[in-house]
Point group: C2
Chain length 118, copies 2
DNA sequence: TTAATATATAACGATGTCCTTATACGTTAG
DNA sequence: CTAACGTATAAGGACATCGTTATATATTAA
């Protein structure tokens, strides 16, 4: 009967992309592109608060975008798969070529001028 | 001094990925992978309401992920660039291989069982 | 053991986001 | 012109998400 036509898969895939769709998580992933890092190094590289970084790392880890490796009292994270890096690079390219209008995309909750982004 | 270390680019790139990170927009993009479609066809293919589909299409268009072409009183949309499709495919692959845990990623606002999706 | 360091979790406030229900706009048919 | 159709926008409520400030856990050092 095909009533709804929204396969489960779509929701899950959207969730996957959400991993990349937040500035903090993306900053973390971008930092990890260079090399594996401990939480402390990530905090320093991104400027995020430590609890915030941890929280997003947990999210990225649950989603399988990063893997963790305990090292004494440090925890070292790294990107889990080459394709995660590929996705990040494709994002860069799209941004440069076809998606320059992104920063004007003010659908939903128009930006009201200097709204908060710290 | 590197105080904040969050280049403008990160925010914009996160915004780009947001285009893919919502079930409705992703359903639209996924539908358009097959072929260009009018709004009506998209509505039928995805099961979205017409206003909702239009809204998300406007969003995707502003961001440069789709292009539009007026055809009489119809408007036909299509994916703007091959790399958009590549991103979608990479998403599929990641989901199959390394990101199977995504649907359990309940950081932030745990799902509370059948929360609302429609 | 106790203290110190590194990381993780909890609770809560402040927005952001999405959907729905009207309604407006634009184009073609009669 | 007027009606009908296809698409777009507006306003509003319901909820999701993010960041912060405590605080908890884990591991090593002394």
């Amino acid at each position: 009967m095909l009533t709804i036509a929204r396969p489960e898969g779509i929701t899950v895939k959207a969730k996957l992309f959400r991993g990349f769709a937040d500035p903090s998580r993306l900053a973390i992933l971008d930092a990890l592109r260079a090399r594996p890092m401990t939480v402390g190094e990530i905090v320093e590289a991104t400027g995020l608060s430590q609890p915030n970084a941890s929280s997003h790392l947990a999210c990225l880890h649950d989603c399988g975008l990063v893997v963790r490796e305990q090292d004494g009292r440090y925890v070292r994270y790294q990107i889990s798969d080459r394709r995660v890096s590929m996705l990040l690079r494709l994002g860069d390219e799209l941004l440069a070529d076809v998606a320059r209008g992104v920063y004007e995309c003010t659908r939903y909750g128009a930006p009201k001028a200097g709204r908060g982004r710290r």
